[in-house]
Amino acid sequence: MKELSLNILDIAMNSVKAKADTVWVTLTETADTFKMQIADNGCGMKEDFLKTVTDPFSTTRTTRKVGMGIPFLLLAAEQTGGSFEITSKHESEYPDSHGTVTTAVFNKNSIDFTPLGDIVSTVTTLIQGSPDIRWIFKHTLPEGEVSLDTDELKEVLGDVPLDNAEVILWIKGYLEEAYSEIE
C-alpha cells in the first residue's frame, strides 16, 4: 500500500466484518516510532484461524476469508525494522470479552517507512461506511493529539445520522482543523 492510512482502512474493515460495535483506531507516534493499533469487540478468531491470518495463503482466491491486508501490514512493519502482533478472543470462548487487537510498530527513520497519508479520509470513510459502529479514533503525536469519538458526536447530533453528507463534511473539517492546530 502506498500509504499507511490504506492499511488502517483495510484492517478496520476486518473489524466491520467481525460485526464489532466499537472499534478503536489508536495511532501513537514518537520522534522515531509510529505505532498503529486497531482494536475491536467483534466476534474474534479461534486460535487455529488466528495462526493462519499472517499466511498469505489463508487468504487466496479459493479460501479467502480475510484480505491480503494482514500479510501486507506485517511486511510493511517488518520492512522498517518494526514489529507486528495480532491477538484475538473468539466469542465462543470469551462471551464477555471477545474481539481482536492488531498492532504494528514502524521505525519512522527507515527509508522503507511508508508515510501515513490521508488519515482524515480514512477515518471519514470508515464512519460513513459503518455509521452504526462506535469509532474511537486517537492519534497522539509528539506535538499534540487529535481524537474523535462518534458516541460523543451522536450525543450532540441527536437524531441526525452520522452518514449524513453534511455531518461527514463537518467531521472531515473538524479533523483537518485539529491536525492543522498541532502542526
Partner: protein
C-alpha cells in the same frame, strides 16, 4: 513463448519451475505488492526485487506466468518450496531490473 524458453533465451537461473510450459503474454514490473496485485495481468512475466512469501500469493492471485527476481536477489528455500507447491515459476536474473526488462522485451 513458454517460461522455460524465456529462461533459456535470457540466461535466467531457474529457482522454481513447477509449470515451465506456461505461455507468456506481456510483462509487468513492480515491487509494491498491493499495487502489483491489482495491475499485473494474467500470463505476464512479473519482474520484482521482493522475495518474501507474499510474492507467491500475489503471483497466484494475479495469475502471472512467472516471477523474475532481478538485481541478483536470492530467495529462501522455504519460499521456493512454497512456489513449487503453489505452481509458481521463479527465475533469477543477475542483471539490473532495467536490463532484465529489456532482455524480456527482446525475447518475448
Amino acid at each position: 513463448m513458454t517460461v522455460k524458453e524465456l529462461s533459456e533465451k535470457c540466461n535466467f537461473k531457474t529457482a522454481a519451475m513447477p509449470d515451465g510450459d506456461r505461455e507468456i503474454d506481456g510483462c509487468y514490473i513492480g515491487d509494491l505488492l498491493s499495487w502489483v496485485m491489482g495491475r499485473a495481468e494474467e500470463n505476464n512475466v512479473w519482474i520484482t526485487i521482493m522475495s518474501n512469501q507474499n510474492i507467491i500469493a500475489v503471483a497466484s492471485l494475479a495469475d502471472v506466468a512467472c516471477i523474475v527476481l532481478s538485481e541478483g536477489v536470492t530467495v529462501e528455500d522455504s519460499i521456493l518450496r512454497l512456489a513449487e507447491e503453489k505452481g509458481v515459476n521463479i527465475l533469477l536474473s543477475d542483471k539490473r531490473t532495467y536490463e532484465t526488462a529489456v532482455a524480456v522485451y527482446e525475447t518475448i
